[in-house]
Protein backbone atom coordinates (compact mmCIF):
# COMPACT_ATOMS: atom_id res chain seq x y z
CA UNK A 1 0.00 0.00 0.00
CA UNK A 2 2.76 2.40 1.01
CA UNK A 3 4.64 1.46 -2.06
CA UNK A 4 1.62 2.28 -4.20
CA UNK A 5 1.22 5.63 -2.48
CA UNK A 6 4.84 6.49 -3.13
CA UNK A 7 4.42 5.50 -6.70
CA UNK A 8 1.33 7.62 -7.27
CA UNK A 9 2.97 10.62 -5.66
CA UNK A 10 6.08 10.42 -7.75
CA UNK A 11 4.16 10.11 -11.00
CA UNK A 12 2.37 13.10 -12.47
CA UNK A 13 -1.41 13.29 -12.04
CA UNK A 14 -2.97 11.83 -15.16
CA UNK A 15 -5.22 14.85 -15.59
CA UNK A 16 -2.16 17.08 -15.91
CA UNK A 17 -0.77 14.75 -18.55
CA UNK A 18 -4.12 14.97 -20.36
CA UNK A 19 -4.17 18.74 -20.12
CA UNK A 20 -0.65 19.13 -21.46
CA UNK A 21 -1.27 16.75 -24.35
CA UNK A 22 -4.54 18.47 -25.16
CA UNK A 23 -2.96 21.93 -25.16
CA UNK A 24 -0.31 20.79 -27.60
CA UNK A 25 -2.69 19.06 -29.96
CA UNK A 26 -5.01 22.09 -29.97
CA UNK A 27 -2.20 24.45 -30.86
CA UNK A 28 -1.64 22.39 -34.01
CA UNK A 29 -5.38 22.02 -34.69
CA UNK A 30 -6.09 25.70 -34.32
CA UNK A 31 -3.14 26.91 -36.35
CA UNK A 32 -3.80 24.23 -38.94
CA UNK A 33 -0.11 23.34 -38.93
CA UNK A 34 0.90 19.72 -39.39
CA UNK A 35 4.00 18.19 -37.81
CA UNK A 36 5.30 17.67 -41.36
CA UNK A 37 4.95 21.38 -42.12
CA UNK A 38 6.77 22.22 -38.90
CA UNK A 39 9.54 19.80 -39.86
CA UNK A 40 9.96 21.54 -43.22
CA UNK A 41 10.02 24.93 -41.56
CA UNK A 42 12.59 23.73 -39.04
CA UNK A 43 14.98 22.37 -41.67
CA UNK A 44 14.73 25.58 -43.71
CA UNK A 45 15.47 27.73 -40.67
CA UNK A 46 18.46 25.55 -39.85
CA UNK A 47 19.74 25.72 -43.41
CA UNK A 48 19.60 29.51 -43.51
CA UNK A 49 21.13 29.94 -40.06
CA UNK A 50 23.91 27.46 -40.79
CA UNK A 51 25.33 29.90 -43.31
CA UNK A 52 26.12 32.26 -40.45
CA UNK A 53 26.49 30.18 -37.31
CA UNK A 54 27.27 26.64 -36.21
CA UNK A 55 24.15 25.14 -34.64
CA UNK A 56 23.84 22.47 -31.96
CA UNK A 57 21.29 20.36 -33.80
CA UNK A 58 20.88 18.05 -30.80
CA UNK A 59 19.52 20.89 -28.69
CA UNK A 60 17.25 22.26 -31.39
CA UNK A 61 13.63 22.86 -30.37
CA UNK A 62 11.04 24.35 -32.71
CA UNK A 63 7.39 24.31 -31.67
CA UNK A 64 4.06 26.02 -32.03
CA UNK A 65 2.58 27.78 -29.03
CA UNK A 66 0.21 30.65 -28.37
CA UNK A 67 0.91 34.20 -27.42
CA UNK A 68 -1.14 37.31 -26.65
CA UNK A 69 -1.08 39.89 -29.39
CA UNK A 70 -0.09 43.25 -27.95
CA UNK A 71 -2.51 45.34 -29.99
CA UNK A 72 -5.75 43.75 -28.75
CA UNK A 73 -4.75 41.03 -26.29
CA UNK A 74 -6.21 38.25 -28.47
CA UNK A 75 -4.51 34.87 -28.48
CA UNK A 76 -2.61 34.07 -31.68
CA UNK A 77 -0.38 31.16 -32.74
CA UNK A 78 3.34 31.75 -32.33
CA UNK A 79 6.39 29.87 -33.50
CA UNK A 80 8.98 29.43 -30.78
CA UNK A 81 12.43 28.32 -31.86
CA UNK A 82 15.22 27.55 -29.41
CA UNK A 83 18.37 27.15 -31.47
CA UNK A 84 21.62 26.75 -29.49
CA UNK A 85 24.59 28.31 -31.29
CA UNK A 86 27.97 26.65 -30.89
CA UNK A 87 29.95 29.39 -32.57
CA UNK A 88 29.60 32.19 -35.03
CA UNK A 89 31.15 31.41 -38.37
CA UNK A 90 33.99 33.50 -39.59
CA UNK A 91 32.51 35.50 -42.40
CA UNK A 92 35.77 37.01 -43.58
Amino acid sequence: MDFLKMFSKSSKNSKNVAKERLKLVLIHDRADISPKFLQMLESDIVRVMSEYVEIDEEGLDVKMTRTKRESDGSSVPALVANIPIIKVKDRG
Binding site: N13, K15, A18, K19, R21
Partner: protein, 264 residues
Protein backbone atom coordinates in the same frame (compact mmCIF):
# COMPACT_ATOMS: atom_id res chain seq x y z
CA UNK B 1 -40.72 34.82 -31.38
CA UNK B 2 -38.91 31.72 -30.21
CA UNK B 3 -35.24 30.93 -29.98
CA UNK B 4 -33.45 28.11 -31.82
CA UNK B 5 -30.65 26.44 -29.86
CA UNK B 6 -28.50 23.73 -31.44
CA UNK B 7 -26.94 21.09 -29.17
CA UNK B 8 -23.72 19.80 -30.69
CA UNK B 9 -20.34 18.26 -29.78
CA UNK B 10 -18.37 16.98 -32.74
CA UNK B 11 -17.61 13.68 -31.02
CA UNK B 12 -20.32 11.07 -30.73
CA UNK B 13 -21.47 9.49 -27.50
CA UNK B 14 -20.88 12.45 -25.20
CA UNK B 15 -24.58 12.92 -24.42
CA UNK B 16 -26.07 15.32 -26.97
CA UNK B 17 -29.37 13.47 -27.19
CA UNK B 18 -29.73 13.03 -23.43
CA UNK B 19 -28.93 16.72 -23.02
CA UNK B 20 -31.51 17.76 -25.62
CA UNK B 21 -34.20 15.59 -24.04
CA UNK B 22 -33.50 16.87 -20.55
CA UNK B 23 -33.19 20.55 -21.35
CA UNK B 24 -36.33 20.32 -23.48
CA UNK B 25 -38.27 18.63 -20.71
CA UNK B 26 -36.73 20.96 -18.12
CA UNK B 27 -37.85 24.06 -20.02
CA UNK B 28 -41.35 22.63 -20.49
CA UNK B 29 -41.56 21.89 -16.74
CA UNK B 30 -40.73 25.56 -16.19
CA UNK B 31 -43.75 26.53 -18.26
CA UNK B 32 -42.21 27.11 -21.67
CA UNK B 33 -43.51 25.86 -24.99
CA UNK B 34 -40.73 23.70 -26.38
CA UNK B 35 -40.05 21.52 -29.40
CA UNK B 36 -37.08 19.16 -29.57
CA UNK B 37 -35.98 18.36 -33.12
CA UNK B 38 -33.93 15.26 -33.94
CA UNK B 39 -31.57 16.28 -36.76
CA UNK B 40 -29.75 12.95 -36.79
CA UNK B 41 -31.39 11.63 -39.95
CA UNK B 42 -30.88 7.88 -40.34
CA UNK B 43 -29.88 7.35 -36.71
CA UNK B 44 -33.03 8.40 -34.88
CA UNK B 45 -32.66 8.31 -31.10
CA UNK B 46 -34.23 11.32 -29.45
CA UNK B 47 -37.60 9.52 -29.64
CA UNK B 48 -36.46 6.59 -27.47
CA UNK B 49 -34.65 8.79 -24.97
CA UNK B 50 -37.86 10.82 -24.61
CA UNK B 51 -39.97 7.64 -24.43
CA UNK B 52 -42.08 8.66 -27.44
CA UNK B 53 -40.95 6.01 -29.94
CA UNK B 54 -44.36 4.36 -30.20
CA UNK B 55 -46.14 7.52 -31.23
CA UNK B 56 -44.26 8.40 -34.41
CA UNK B 57 -46.25 8.72 -37.60
CA UNK B 58 -44.43 11.36 -39.63
CA UNK B 59 -40.88 12.69 -39.33
CA UNK B 60 -38.83 15.80 -40.05
CA UNK B 61 -38.17 14.74 -43.66
CA UNK B 62 -41.92 14.36 -44.27
CA UNK B 63 -42.39 17.86 -42.88
CA UNK B 64 -39.72 19.55 -45.05
CA UNK B 65 -40.88 17.62 -48.12
CA UNK B 66 -44.43 18.70 -47.28
CA UNK B 67 -45.71 15.13 -47.23
CA UNK B 68 -47.56 16.24 -44.11
CA UNK B 69 -48.26 19.53 -42.40
CA UNK B 70 -45.94 20.70 -39.61
CA UNK B 71 -48.65 20.16 -36.99
CA UNK B 72 -49.06 16.53 -38.10
CA UNK B 73 -45.35 15.86 -37.76
CA UNK B 74 -45.12 17.13 -34.19
CA UNK B 75 -45.62 14.60 -31.39
CA UNK B 76 -47.07 16.03 -28.23
CA UNK B 77 -45.57 14.68 -24.99
CA UNK B 78 -48.67 14.04 -22.89
CA UNK B 79 -46.68 14.02 -19.63
CA UNK B 80 -45.46 17.61 -19.94
CA UNK B 81 -47.61 20.53 -20.99
CA UNK B 82 -46.09 22.37 -23.93
CA UNK B 83 -43.47 19.75 -24.91
CA UNK B 84 -43.27 18.44 -28.49
CA UNK B 85 -40.93 16.21 -30.49
CA UNK B 86 -40.14 16.36 -34.19
CA UNK B 87 -38.46 13.01 -34.85
CA UNK B 88 -35.76 12.24 -37.42
CA UNK B 89 -36.39 9.94 -40.35
CA UNK B 90 -34.90 6.52 -39.79
CA UNK B 91 -34.80 5.09 -43.30
CA UNK B 92 -33.40 8.07 -45.17
CA UNK B 93 -29.92 9.58 -45.06
CA UNK B 94 -28.56 12.98 -44.15
CA UNK B 95 -28.79 14.34 -47.68
CA UNK B 96 -32.61 14.11 -47.43
CA UNK B 97 -32.61 17.65 -46.00
CA UNK B 98 -30.78 20.75 -47.16
CA UNK B 99 -29.60 23.55 -44.85
CA UNK B 100 -32.04 26.01 -46.51
CA UNK B 101 -34.97 23.71 -45.74
CA UNK B 102 -33.83 23.40 -42.15
CA UNK B 103 -33.63 27.18 -41.85
CA UNK B 104 -37.16 27.51 -43.20
CA UNK B 105 -38.41 24.87 -40.75
CA UNK B 106 -36.75 26.65 -37.82
CA UNK B 107 -38.32 29.96 -38.81
CA UNK B 108 -41.72 28.31 -38.96
CA UNK B 109 -41.25 26.67 -35.53
CA UNK B 110 -40.17 29.99 -34.01
CA UNK B 111 -43.67 31.36 -34.56
CA UNK B 112 -45.18 28.61 -32.41
CA UNK B 113 -42.61 27.83 -29.72
CA UNK B 114 -40.53 29.62 -27.08
CA UNK B 115 -37.59 27.26 -27.52
CA UNK B 116 -36.60 25.05 -30.44
CA UNK B 117 -33.83 22.61 -29.46
CA UNK B 118 -31.97 20.92 -32.31
CA UNK B 119 -30.20 17.66 -31.50
CA UNK B 120 -27.24 17.64 -33.89
CA UNK B 121 -25.67 14.42 -35.18
CA UNK B 122 -22.01 13.72 -34.39
CA UNK B 123 -19.44 14.85 -36.93
CA UNK B 124 -18.99 18.09 -38.85
CA UNK B 125 -20.44 17.13 -42.22
CA UNK B 126 -23.83 17.76 -43.79
CA UNK B 127 -25.83 16.57 -40.77
CA UNK B 128 -24.05 19.14 -38.61
CA UNK B 129 -24.45 21.85 -41.27
CA UNK B 130 -28.20 21.12 -41.32
CA UNK B 131 -28.46 21.20 -37.54
CA UNK B 132 -26.82 24.61 -37.24
CA UNK B 133 -28.49 26.18 -40.30
CA UNK B 134 -31.39 27.76 -38.43
CA UNK B 135 -29.79 28.15 -35.01
CA UNK B 136 -29.64 31.42 -33.07
CA UNK B 137 -27.51 30.02 -30.27
CA UNK B 138 -25.49 26.91 -29.56
CA UNK B 139 -24.58 24.57 -26.74
CA UNK B 140 -21.40 22.49 -27.03
CA UNK B 141 -21.46 19.27 -25.01
CA UNK B 142 -18.20 17.68 -23.92
CA UNK B 143 -16.94 15.12 -21.42
CA UNK B 144 -13.66 15.35 -19.48
CA UNK B 145 -11.72 13.34 -22.06
CA UNK B 146 -9.01 14.51 -24.43
CA UNK B 147 -10.84 13.32 -27.54
CA UNK B 148 -14.14 14.99 -26.61
CA UNK B 149 -12.52 18.30 -25.64
CA UNK B 150 -10.46 18.33 -28.81
CA UNK B 151 -13.57 17.82 -30.95
CA UNK B 152 -15.43 20.45 -28.92
CA UNK B 153 -12.67 22.93 -29.73
CA UNK B 154 -13.00 22.17 -33.43
CA UNK B 155 -16.78 22.55 -33.32
CA UNK B 156 -16.52 25.86 -31.44
CA UNK B 157 -14.35 27.14 -34.29
CA UNK B 158 -16.89 25.97 -36.88
CA UNK B 159 -19.82 27.49 -34.98
CA UNK B 160 -18.05 30.82 -34.73
CA UNK B 161 -17.26 30.68 -38.44
CA UNK B 162 -21.01 30.27 -39.04
CA UNK B 163 -21.70 33.42 -37.05
CA UNK B 164 -22.90 31.52 -33.98
CA UNK B 165 -20.81 33.53 -31.59
CA UNK B 166 -20.36 32.71 -27.93
CA UNK B 167 -21.36 29.05 -27.82
CA UNK B 168 -22.01 27.82 -24.28
CA UNK B 169 -20.23 24.83 -22.77
CA UNK B 170 -21.96 21.92 -21.08
CA UNK B 171 -19.60 19.52 -19.32
CA UNK B 172 -21.14 16.09 -19.05
CA UNK B 173 -20.21 12.99 -17.02
CA UNK B 174 -17.91 14.61 -14.50
CA UNK B 175 -16.77 12.09 -11.86
CA UNK B 176 -16.09 14.05 -8.67
CA UNK B 177 -14.10 11.18 -7.12
CA UNK B 178 -11.72 11.02 -10.06
CA UNK B 179 -11.39 14.81 -10.24
CA UNK B 180 -10.45 14.82 -6.57
CA UNK B 181 -7.72 12.25 -7.17
CA UNK B 182 -6.34 14.30 -10.05
CA UNK B 183 -7.25 11.62 -12.55
CA UNK B 184 -9.84 13.63 -14.46
CA UNK B 185 -9.72 17.14 -15.87
CA UNK B 186 -11.78 19.51 -13.75
CA UNK B 187 -14.17 22.27 -14.79
CA UNK B 188 -11.53 25.01 -14.69
CA UNK B 189 -9.16 22.94 -16.83
CA UNK B 190 -11.73 22.63 -19.60
CA UNK B 191 -12.90 26.24 -19.49
CA UNK B 192 -9.28 27.33 -19.54
CA UNK B 193 -8.59 25.27 -22.66
CA UNK B 194 -11.80 25.96 -24.60
CA UNK B 195 -12.17 29.59 -23.51
CA UNK B 196 -15.98 29.76 -23.71
CA UNK B 197 -18.67 30.44 -21.11
CA UNK B 198 -19.90 27.57 -18.99
CA UNK B 199 -23.61 26.76 -19.12
CA UNK B 200 -23.52 23.90 -16.67
CA UNK B 201 -22.03 20.67 -15.42
CA UNK B 202 -23.77 17.30 -15.25
CA UNK B 203 -22.27 14.58 -13.07
CA UNK B 204 -21.86 11.00 -14.21
CA UNK B 205 -25.00 9.66 -12.56
CA UNK B 206 -26.45 6.13 -12.69
CA UNK B 207 -29.87 7.75 -12.52
CA UNK B 208 -29.42 8.78 -16.17
CA UNK B 209 -29.03 5.17 -17.28
CA UNK B 210 -32.08 4.16 -15.25
CA UNK B 211 -34.24 7.01 -16.51
CA UNK B 212 -33.17 6.46 -20.13
CA UNK B 213 -34.07 2.78 -19.76
CA UNK B 214 -37.55 3.90 -18.79
CA UNK B 215 -37.85 6.67 -21.38
CA UNK B 216 -38.33 9.35 -18.74
CA UNK B 217 -35.85 12.23 -18.82
CA UNK B 218 -33.95 12.40 -15.51
CA UNK B 219 -34.81 16.10 -15.05
CA UNK B 220 -38.29 14.98 -13.97
CA UNK B 221 -36.71 13.41 -10.87
CA UNK B 222 -35.42 16.27 -8.75
CA UNK B 223 -34.09 13.90 -6.11
CA UNK B 224 -31.21 12.98 -8.42
CA UNK B 225 -28.04 15.01 -8.85
CA UNK B 226 -28.25 14.86 -12.65
CA UNK B 227 -31.91 15.88 -12.53
CA UNK B 228 -31.03 18.94 -10.45
CA UNK B 229 -28.16 19.79 -12.77
CA UNK B 230 -30.47 19.76 -15.82
CA UNK B 231 -33.06 21.83 -13.99
CA UNK B 232 -30.37 24.42 -13.19
CA UNK B 233 -29.21 24.44 -16.80
CA UNK B 234 -32.77 24.97 -18.05
CA UNK B 235 -33.18 27.90 -15.68
CA UNK B 236 -29.89 29.43 -16.81
CA UNK B 237 -31.09 29.21 -20.41
CA UNK B 238 -34.15 31.19 -19.35
CA UNK B 239 -31.83 33.88 -18.04
CA UNK B 240 -31.90 33.06 -14.33
CA UNK B 241 -28.69 33.21 -12.33
CA UNK B 242 -28.22 29.81 -10.75
CA UNK B 243 -25.16 28.67 -8.83
CA UNK B 244 -23.28 25.61 -9.99
CA UNK B 245 -24.21 22.43 -8.16
CA UNK B 246 -21.76 21.48 -5.46
CA UNK B 247 -20.68 17.89 -5.98
CA UNK B 248 -18.92 17.99 -2.62
CA UNK B 249 -15.32 18.08 -3.77
CA UNK B 250 -12.77 20.60 -4.96
CA UNK B 251 -15.10 21.75 -7.71
CA UNK B 252 -17.10 23.40 -4.93
CA UNK B 253 -14.62 26.23 -4.96
CA UNK B 254 -15.85 27.07 -8.37
CA UNK B 255 -19.40 27.74 -7.30
CA UNK B 256 -19.98 31.29 -8.16
CA UNK B 257 -22.95 33.02 -9.58
CA UNK B 258 -23.21 32.32 -13.24
CA UNK B 259 -24.16 35.17 -15.46
CA UNK B 260 -25.17 33.29 -18.49
CA UNK B 261 -27.97 35.08 -20.19
CA UNK B 262 -29.20 33.43 -23.29
CA UNK B 263 -29.97 36.53 -25.26
CA UNK B 264 -32.35 38.49 -23.09
Amino acid sequence: MGKVIVITSGKGGVGKTTTTANIGTGLAMLGKKVVVVDADIGLRNLDVVMGLENRIVYDVVDVVEKVCRLKQGLIRDKRYEGLYLLPAAQTKDKSAIKPEQMLELCNELKEEFDYILIDSPAGIELGFQNAVAGADESIVVTTPEISAVRDADRVIGLLEAKGLNSPKLLINRIRPDMVKKGDMMNIEDMIDILAIDLLGVVPDDEAIVVSTNRGEPVVSDQSTLAGKAYNNISRRIMGEEVELLNFDHEEGKFTRIMKILFGK
